[in-house]
């Protein structure tokens, strides 16, 4: 009798697990099978990311910390947000997020620009501006070790859907979608380089190929150019919606803070 009961219980548990995985597509991919780009790097490049004294992105982080308190052009970030170590903990791990006044999703860079315009009366910064990357790196630093949050704002649902569609739509002269490489061929090689799963867990990154820090938009634009497609502008709606989908796809993975990539 108790054996039957135990079996029923096991079936029930399996059902619950199955239902749970249907409800949460990110989990359905199998949390265990998702791997950060970090795992695809050589030991030497991994060592560079692990050690803050060697990771060149720390130059940007230190600059961002200085800019956070810089009041020379009016109001400093710290004036409203105080100590970033506390107030900004986990923030980078839950962007892109919805902005009510714009009525569209914004990524962290766009949020920084909105803050500059609305509260600091300063002009927006370009995506790859050193000042932008410095502030973004500094904020990313405050999310190191924090799991990426699945955006649960219902207003984001439509954008998330559009981002998901862009991810799996064939684009460019090579007629490849993101999914072709980063879902189906992840772990393989393109030329000599490993194909990672494409999880945005360490942005902004210091990319050895760039010899500089760079944003997720810059990395994605590289992929668009690679398949010979038209590149969406950084902070454009298409770009942010794709970033939103990638963030949802990587939900639960740990933010690495600003990382290093080859």
């Amino acid at each position: 009798m108790s054996a039957v009961f135990a079996r029923c219980q096991a079936v029930l548990l399996a059902l619950v697990a199955l239902l749970g995985s249907i409800a949460d597509p990110a989990r359905a991919q199998g949390a265990d099978s998702r791997r950060s780009g970090f795992d695809f790097m050589s030991a030497a490049t991994q060592a560079l990311q692990r050690d803050d004294a060697q990771n060149p992105v720390m130059l940007w982080v230190a600059d961002g910390a200085r800019r956070w308190r810089d009041a020379s052009a009016g109001r400093a970030c710290a004036e409203c947000h105080n100590t970033a170590e506390q107030s900004m903990r986990g923030v980078a791990a839950r962007y892109p997020a919805w902005d009510d006044r714009l009525g569209e999703p914004v990524n962290l860079q766009k949020r920084i620009n909105l803050c500059r315009e609305r509260h600091q009366s300063q002009p927006p910064l370009r995506s790859e501006d050193d000042a932008m990357l410095a502030l973004e790196s500094y904020l990313a630093m405050q999310s190191r070790g924090v799991p990426l949050t699945r955006p649960d704002d219902p207003k984001l649902a439509e954008s998330l859907e559009r981002g998901s569609r862009l991810y799996s739509t064939r684009i460019g002269q090579l007629a490849l979608s993101c999914a072709h490489c980063h879902d189906q061929l992840a772990g393989g090689r393109l030329g000599g380089s490993p194909i990672p799963q494409g999880h945005p867990t360490a942005y902004p990154i210091y990319r050895l190929q760039w010899q500089s820090a760079g944003s997720l938009a810059r990395r994605l634009r590289g992929c668009f150019a690679g398949v010979r497609a038209e590149q969406p502008a950084p902070m454009s709606r298409d770009m942010i919606e794709l970033e939103l989908f990638l963030a949802a796809r990587a939900a639960g993975m740990l933010h690495e803070g600003p990382g290093v990539r080859p």
Binding site: A53, M58, L59, W60, Q211, S212
Partner: protein, 107 residues
């Protein structure tokens, strides 16, 4: 713009004990061999010399060349038998010069 630097070292050490100093500086190290999007050659702009001195005495020095990557990182060891000031200086093309100072306490 002032150069960005990171200096990683213990601020307090034991007398006669070896320790490691690691320094990095933000610099593009433009080789002079690349061309820009307009097809024109980008002029060379690299760091050419690094020097670390402890109370006027050279601890470590290096010459840098175009093949060294951007944001050069150097590490070296030293020992000290008295407290004092370490002076780190970088020189480069176009009159680039940057100096950092770190006080070292020997106990």
């Amino acid at each position: 713009m002032a150069a960005r630097t990171l200096i990683d070292m213990p601020r307090q050490v034991k007398r006669g004990e070896a320790f490691e100093i690691r320094v990095m500086i933000g610099h593009s190290m433009e080789t002079g061999y690349r061309r820009g999007s307009d097809g024109e050659r980008l002029p060379r702009d690299i760091l050419t010399e690094f020097r670390c001195e402890f109370e006027g005495e050279a601890v470590f020095s290096a010459r840098l060349y175009p093949a060294i990557s951007a944001n050069p990182y150097l590490s070296f060891g030293m020992m000290a038998d008295r407290s004092g000031e370490l002076v780190f200086s970088w020189r480069g093309d176009r009159g680039f010069a940057h100096t950092e100072r770190v006080a070292l306490v020997v106990v």
